[in-house]
Symmetry: C2
Subunit: 165 residues, 2 copies
């Protein structure tokens, strides 16, 4: 952290008197804000749901470096960090599911169906990041990203994500 800021370790305690926890919260908030402004914001235009979801998928892939970057969500849900920041992470994940569900509803799904599609989407994103890292191959992540818009819109497709004709 000191390297990233250009300050030495102890100087950070001037800005974050409560130490580690303060710093992690600040980092978490910064990443969260970035994510909100650059990724989630793509879902808030007045364009068609399909178009917004395309843009969202694209930004999401970028954010996770096509599945090669670790994810704060799972990093912080592991081990001791989990207890300290769960509230923060829980809120962010719920917010993401909520906005995805809103788009699905707008595309015609009823409330329950939309909520389930949104949850499935988040589950698929997180899961594919884990799988990608575990097997050292981002194929699963790329496939999930590609299928994300269709799955949220409820397009009938086979398991490969190809729309049935």
């Amino acid at each position: 952290m000191s390297e990233a800021t250009g300050l030495c370790r102890s100087s950070l305690y001037y800005y974050f008197p409560n130490g580690k926890e303060d710093m992690a919260n600040a980092a978490l908030a910064a990443v969260g804000n970035w994510f909100t402004r650059h990724v989630m914001s793509t879902l808030e235009s007045r364009d068609a749901p399909a178009l917004r979801l395309q843009r969202f998928s694209s930004k999401l892939a970028e954010h996770y470096a096509n599945g090669l970057a670790p994810c704060l969500m799972d990093v912080f849900t592991i081990g001791e960090a989990g207890s300290l920041f769960q509230q923060h992470l829980s809120n962010r994940m719920r917010a993401l599911m909520s906005i995805l569900a809103a788009v699905a509803e707008e595309a015609g799904a009823d409330k329950l169906e939309a909520a389930i599609r949104a949850e499935n989407a988040v589950v698929a994103i997180q899961g594919s990041l884990i799988v990608a890292r575990a097997v050292g191959n981002n194929g699963a992540f790329l496939r999930v990203i590609e299928n994300l818009p269709g799955n949220l819109l409820g397009v009938q497709a086979n398991s490969t994500g190809n729309v049935l004709t």
Copy 2:
């Protein structure tokens, strides 16, 4: 670890001269073997694919304490551990996907389709564990477990997992 074994820290070095890495590998292997014998083995009988998958889902839920237990896969794919044990984890995850794909094939899917369903299943399991921990609610995990057999068998269902009638 010392508490778990009843031995003090230094005594463990008698059994694991290479220290931490040896210990972690032993623990990983033990869990892996347990998983193979108790969970993956449910997929190897001569019963119908649907029945085997039901049993598998049930054992899997038990293994993860219905989504409330952390998962070695994601614990070890995070941080420094990742590099040391990636081979181990990669192998186990591939083995799981491979046996799930075999069951899907047996149920009539072609090779590619079966592989994709298997990957989707593993992605959903891992993702739902992350989501369950992040939001402090195992609903997503339970839903994934419930839908797992149908998804692998390629049953046409809506997003809630209810088979279409």
